[in-house]
């Protein structure tokens, strides 16, 4: 296993006082060269990904062992939660369920309406993403990179690039997958960028992780940009990775310097990046390109229709799409069909994890 050690044993047979195998300097040179070669290979070439996956698989039992103490502590902690506390929580939760049920009913209605409207626009149904609940195995042990390892991997159909969210917002993106675990790079990592939109005015931008302080940066925005403190950033969904409408961060600080044409904007992520135990991994939308082209086509169509409308009146647009005017007349006919498309993923999700209002809302929008 270790060349150095075995050489050592051989050397030890000789009864020499100062014999220690190859000199420390030789070993230093050898292993330094080896490390440098490894670093170069790993950072520039892709040869080591499969080796890394295999080794991570070997490491998995150790990780489980290392996680055992904290899990045991947590479960005993839960066990000793007092009766009173549970009762209180229970009544609170019941109230919450009631409130959420009411809003869910509204959401169903909205989903139906949305489906009908999409039908009118020729747009493809936005694919409802399937998602997997994963538990955090450990938070990265490296203060430089913001990464977490979760207990779902290739065996659970997690793919590289999938988005990770939790109850309160986007957490990050899957950057490496191993057989039974995967690595998620958090949105606060320096190497991760996420396309966002200001919720208030729909302004699109890209947020970059700062790599420290658990904050995000919004660079390259002009000094007079319409962003205020407290503005909410949501995913714009134009990247085909993150579903649109998920909360990402809140703007906490805007400063403009006279010598810089750009505003310095700092945001704090809303997701429980540092303290959530579970994350939901949302699989990539399956067919991005047809969806995009369809959207473009409909955009063109609607533009044409809009251009045509003033001159030829509403009759012209009605003539160009006679088949699709019907659903407006009778949306009720479409109803029994639409819920089937929308609801299955929602139930799948609820089986996995209790829905929070945020997610439910988002999902219904899809």
């Amino acid at each position: 296993m270790l060349p150095g050690i075995h050489q050592n044993f051989d050397q030890q047979q000789a009864p020499a006082f100062f014999a220690r195998g190859p000199s420390p300097l030789a070993r230093l040179a050898f292993f330094t060269a080896l490390s440098l070669a490894l670093m170069a290979t790993d950072s520039r070439l892709q040869y080591l990904t499969s080796i890394r996956a295999t080794l991570m698989n070997l490491l998995h039992p150790l990780q489980v062992v290392a996680n055992a103490p904290s899990e045991i502590f947590e479960s005993t902690d839960k066990y000793f939660t007092t009766h009173h506390q549970l009762l209180k929580e229970n009544s609170q939760l019941k109230q919450q369920v009631l409130i959420q049920n009411i809003s869910l009913q509204k959401l169903n209605l909205l989903a139906l309406e949305n489906a009908n409207l999409r039908d009118l626009l020729h747009a493809q149904q936005a694919l409802a993403e399937s998602s997997t609940l994963a538990e955090i195995l450990h938070v990265g042990r490296d203060s430089f990179t913001k990464k977490i390892i979760v207990n779902r991997g290739k065996n659970h159909h997690i793919v590289t690039g999938a988005a990770a969210v939790d109850a309160t917002g986007v957490v990050g993106q899957v950057t490496r997958t191993y057989p039974s675990s995967s690595e998620i790079t958090l949105i606060t990592d320096k190497s991760l960028a996420i396309p966002i939109q200001i919720e208030r005015n729909g302004l699109r931008a890209i947020a970059f992780g700062r790599g420290r302080d658990n904050t995000l940066d919004l660079p390259y925005l002009p000094a007079n940009v319409d962003i205020r403190r407290g503005d909410k950033l949501v995913t714009s969904g134009i990247d085909g990775v993150y579903p649109s409408g998920l909360t990402v961060a809140t703007v906490t600080e805007i400063t403009t310097a006279p010598e810089s044409p750009f505003a310095h904007i700092v945001c704090i992520p809303t997701g429980g990046i540092e303290h959530s135990r579970q994350v939901l991994i949302v699989n990539l939308p399956q067919s991005e390109e047809p969806d995009m082209t369809a959207n473009e086509a409909t955009a063109d169509d609607s533009k044409k229709a809009a251009a045509a409308a003033p001159s030829k009146d509403a009759a012209a647009s009605a003539n160009s799409k006679p088949a699709h005017t019907e659903p407006t007349v009778a949306p009720a006919q479409a109803k029994p069909e639409q819920p089937k498309k929308v609801e299955p993923p929602a139930t799948e999700k609820t089986q996995n994890k209790p829905l929070t209002p945020d997610q439910g809302q988002h999902h219904a929008q899809q």
Partner: protein, 159 residues
């Protein structure tokens, strides 16, 4: 005897690795000492024939794997650190416990500095002075172990 020693070396290295794998986060992560390097330094002083630069390099690779960083960063840092440790290993028998503590602290600091340099090359930013806390806590842990009666090689003739 040597087999026994080898076994305890491997077991302690494994234990250190599991300690590194614990789900550290937040303040605990900032304060977490480098258990692996501490154990390696300990065995370098106690059993330089069984545990050497190669062992450190190999364990560094595993740490690299666990942190998810580029392969070879920790391996290189441990290699250079252990090299320095090996050079001074014979003089260490004469060190007082305070001198030894300073020596261990500077070794931990060296390994952190090397990792900092490598990470900076890879495009990361310095995360603030709290980055060096693990060296301090590592030295404290070392002192604690010595106080509790761990023989750190200053009287290794008896073995």
């Amino acid at each position: 005897m040597r087999n026994n020693k080898l076994k305890s070396i491997y077991l302690s290295l494994l234990a250190a690795f599991i300690f590194m794998l614990f789900p550290w986060s937040g303040l605990a992560l900032t304060l977490r000492p480098d258990f692996m390097l501490l154990v390696i330094i300990f065995w370098l002083l106690r059993a330089p024939n069984q545990c050497s630069v190669g062992t450190a390099w190999f364990m560094g690779l595993w740490i690299d794997l666990a942190t998810g960083g580029i392969f070879g960063q920790y391996a290189l840092a441990y290699t250079i650190t252990t090299f320095i440790a090996v050079i001074y290993q014979r003089r260490l028998v004469l060190f007082s416990s305070t001198q030894q503590l300073v020596y261990v602290f500077s070794l931990l600091l060296v390994s952190q500095l090397i990792i900092l340099i490598l990470k900076t090359f890879a495009g990361n930013e310095f995360t603030g002075w709290s980055y060096f806390m693990p060296s301090l806590t590592g030295a404290l842990l070392w002192q604690l172990a010595v106080t509790l009666g761990l023989n750190t090689g200053r009287h290794s003739r008896g073995n």
